[in-house]
Symmetry: D2
Subunit: 371 residues, 4 copies
């Protein structure tokens, strides 16, 4: 006898929409999920776009209206990969309709709206998940377990970064990213290193940041010769103090010419240390005392690092970026089915957004800001 | 209006069977394939095993009899992930039934049987593909294009290796791998570096190998205290001469204690060089003259390296092992639909097997062997 | 006909004293220096210690009194490797005696005293040099030339660090390093990354730092069971703004469990980037646009990077730490002979000390401090 | 009272001559050697060349005639850095004169002559040393101790290489290196990886090699437009079997376009493994079982690896190539003073040469050759 089915409604069919679709298609062949996801309905900006995407991605039906999707009886989980500005209205409508909500990051354009979304979901007892998929990496989960076990001793220092180069060219035009509501490098990718730092070390207590706009104007649109001012940061450096007492620094940078995916950190403890970069996402550098043999050990991903084994029974067979989304979706389906919670959920995403805004405020005021 | 459908019949549901199933499920959401694969029928050692697997992997029907599968009218492509010894009978029956055949490596247990399979497929005009999936890596394809373009000058040297540690422990018991028909490290993973060397540099002309059995006995079965002699190699080192005049060496080693996936090579030319290891499968090390700035450049995988862009529009978002299988399946479906050819097909896999046997023979006779 | 001789007087015979002696002994066999250094006189805490050291290190004479040394007619250059607290009196006396002064870092225990020393030397027209030897590395000099040439475009970001683990153990006892005049991690090794940042990118305009004492007490002396409070930082993270407009961050950390010599930085420009770590001091990572071939290139030290060629005519033959001191001494002898200037001289070392104190002050006041 | 003095006579003042001189000048300030070396006499091809070099390198006297040097009463140790063809006559004369002989590698142009030199030295009870300085690296010595301790279990495999690019350009002219007596890549740098393999794993029993001349002609001299045929190998790949039963492969390559100093190896045992490359000579990669934490550990050179501590009391302060020569000279002086033996001595260098010739012979005859 088969599993019960869960209907998936996807809003948006860009890069992240495709990622979601692929993950829902693959998940039950890789994970022992309690329900079988069915790709019921896809919504996009128009009916035509939606119909084309539905066929490509394997959805049964399509609509040009996300409100239709949110209220469709066959849809149990609403997956939101629409532009950031739409996250709130779609999520709030889905919460009202009693659907599980799976939203891409950033949760919203301001912490205040994210808080509203969080409170609405909690009041309604809705399962939520936000797509900070980098922290689904088995090696990051493994790092968290090592830290929690005390194997590193007391953690003393943190140094993190998310640096890419997709906005390094001053002729990359304006988009939702450079919109003041979009938030700049700090909101766009700084949120990844902030969420990962929280995942590994807990909440932050105080921050002090320096935000900088490197390219002060950008073309208004892709083919435009007119340029408009940029009001968001291209690069932010911040000092951070965690509630636990750990201190450190982090950087968000989307103009890091030489980097495509330097989401990286080093965490030092009194008896050991860990270092990681998403540039080599299947490795974790681990240091713990071994007299006469001290040094960073390069641990390669394998079945010893769940849920790697769901993808391959042997070590050394790398996971890829899209696999992280499958892991995320497996956790979502389990929580959806059991009425449990996901992590990161809306509340966690709201906390990340609070940290982003605290950094922006500390920059504006040139002073430390408590969270 | 949708694409036409193609029925998939899968024989075997172990690690590779799961890989195949996942790839067929995912492919049309990622690639613009000409046909939509449908998971029609799964065969395994018994009806019960097959039924369980069919449900997990998403197949419509199941059977305990591969002959039924091969002759099923709904099955257009027969995917073979059964034990090596069964590759030949299944493939020959599938060829006879006019089905496209997609077989895991090694194609067969001997080059002679592989030749028979190849000739049968060619006589029947059957599309075939063999699963040497490591060479589907966009960075390996990119390397091939660089070499072919002449950018490295004339190629002068090759040094390759496939080293893992899955048989390093002397208490790993006998299995099909250590069966004399299985072939040992050289046949099992040496075939990967041989196929990749051929893909990059063309056919080999002469070989001289030294095969060694490191652990001379192994437990008869997993829980057995009785041990039986091992007759296959754990490690082979070989000198190779390519038809092009390039010379070099290669190693196959499944007792390489410190290695989980060192499928690696360096190719040197008169004006440049390339180095690669599957341990960091999303990177290619590239050297070409840049006076005052000479050195290996670490090129990171991205959309500039097709078909990476099918998985992600931005660089730095790693592909994983399972993604290579999706690439393979996309090529298979295209060839199946167009009546074209795949590479590596049965003939190519037969040539790899010939090289393996030439190495074994050179070891036995302590002399160079021409291919 | 031989070169004229220059008499060397060395104060102190610890690790750095030995380094100096070795450099003076070696330099004229490696560099075409205008004068031949002669090891005339060594001073240490007592006559006995000095006599032993003089014999080992090859000095002609010894004294237990540095004032004797400073005023010795055979001494032309006074090299100071005595405890930090003694730098000022010895240097001021040597300046008064008209000697060239070669002093280890930090120049003094406070910026105010360093300023006094600087002004005394400048007023007397004395050649001075301070031993920030890491910036003698040919790869660092090469980096500076690349930056200055504009090859990276406009520099946009800096991220630097000096992390070691020599004070990571809470039972490492108090010493001159943890004395409040010693200054802690920031003064001891933070000064290296500050001086290197200045060497590469010019002066800093504003800083904001967070200094932390990780181990709040340490044994009073090596064998003591009594512990005394620590008042200096073990770890400092700082935001920095350079006069040029470049912004970034830096870290000083002597409790970095996993690090022995992570004096490292990444400098990003609009068209390229450089990355370096003293952990691999014979390499420079260089990125500049090469469409389809982008990536960090690992440039290996060689004769193309002067003065590497003084040590070896072929690339790939690493320089070591002690070689950096030989380079330093060669520059010192040239400046001494020609009446030119060295870099870093007292003024530069004073500027480094000003930056250290600005960071300490910004921490104390929790606000940005202008330099 | 000082140490007794030992007179050094150096023949040759090229790159290696300078290295020797520098090492003799530095050694007693770094090592507690039993005698103080004095640079008495330098010989080179003419009196004028010798006089200039003597002044630069700090020798007391000079001569254009090596026979004079060998028989000079003030000379106790004869250091030979003259062209290979002169090693034998100079060494034999020095042996006859009862001097300690310190000769650069290769010991001679043929194994037969090397044997004659070895026997002469042994008959006369002469202390000899040959300059295979790469094996003086503390990390290589450390590797040897790990292997000898059994920590890796039983050694099962070896893979080694010495690859550089100094002859990669076909317009590098003929020289002593490409002379048939010089021996090609195998003799010139293959001897380094052979000697290191012997140092780590003991003698070889059997070899099978493939030698290739990549550039079949080279200019007769530096500015010549005439080209002459090349009769030596540019690249050799070899299979090797050690007396211990270990098997593996090695490569010598002086046309390795992308490499400046890839003297590297991996040694695998049943319980662990080591990997090293001279490209990062201050690191050793070490693997030994640590369940759940397996992986290569990057051990950084430090005082735990004697004689590193002679150069620096703290880890992370790299040694350089020239420091290896200082270590060599310290061992030479100790053996000279105590009447002990050095390693590698003439006999060891002769064994290396035997292995080179066995490889050449196996190539010529296309068969395995026993040693």
């Amino acid at each position: 006898m088969g599993k019960s089915e869960t209907g998936i409604g996807l809003v948006g069919s860009g890069f992240m929409g495709r990622c979601h679709a692929n993950a829902f298609r693959s998940v039950s062949g890789l994970f022992d999920v309690p329900v079988e996801p069915r790709l019921r309905l896809l919504a996009d900006a128009s009916g035509e776009i939606a119909r084309d995407a539905a066929q490509t991605l394997g959805f049964e039906r399509a609509t040009g209206d996300w409100e239709t999707l949110v209220n469709d009886d066959d849809v149990d989980i609403v997956a939101i990969t629409a532009p950031n500005i739409l996250h709130a209205p779609i999520a709030l409508a889905a919460i009202k309709a009693g659907k599980t909500v799976y939203c891409e990051k950033p949760l919203s354009t301001t912490a205040a709206i994210a808080q509203e979304m969080t409170e609405a979901a909690e009041a309604a007892g809705i399962v939520t998940m936000v797509g900070f998929n980098f922290q689904r990496n088995p090696m990051v989960k493994f790092a968290r377990e090592i830290i929690a076990s005390g194997e590193l001793g007391e953690v003393t220092g943190f140094r993190g970064r998310h640096a890419e180069n997709y906005m390094a060219d001053p002729n990359v035009p304006h988009s939702f990213r450079t919109d003041v509501h979009g938030g700049g490098a700090l909101a766009d990718i700084g949120s990844h290193i902030i969420s990962m730092a929280r995942y590994l070390l807990g909440p932050m207590a105080e921050v002090q940041a320096d935000c900088q706009t490197i390219h002060s104007t950008r073309p208004k649109t892709r083919n435009s010769t007119e340029r408009a001012p940029v009001e968001v940061d291209d690069m932010t450096h911040a000092l951070v103090r965690f509630e636990s007492g750990v201190r450190g620094s982090l950087e968000a940078n989307w103009a890091a010419t030489a980097r495509t995916m330097d989401l990286s950190w080093e965490i030092t403890g009194t008896r050991g240390a860990l270092a990681f970069t998403q540039e080599r996402m299947n490795e974790l550098s681990f240091w713990s005392g071994r007299p006469g043999r001290n040094g960073y050990t390069k641990i390669e991903a394998g079945p010893a690092h769940p849920p790697y084994g769901q993808f391959c029974p042997a070590p050394g067979h790398h996971l890829g970026f899209n696999d992280l989304k499958v892991i995320e979706v497996a956790e979502l389906l389990t929580a959806h089915s059991s009425g449990g919670t996901c992590s990161p959920d809306f509340r966690e995403a709201y906390e990340v957004q609070r940290a982003v805004e605290a950094m922006q405020q500390s920059h504006a005021n040139r002073q430390w800001v408590s969270l």
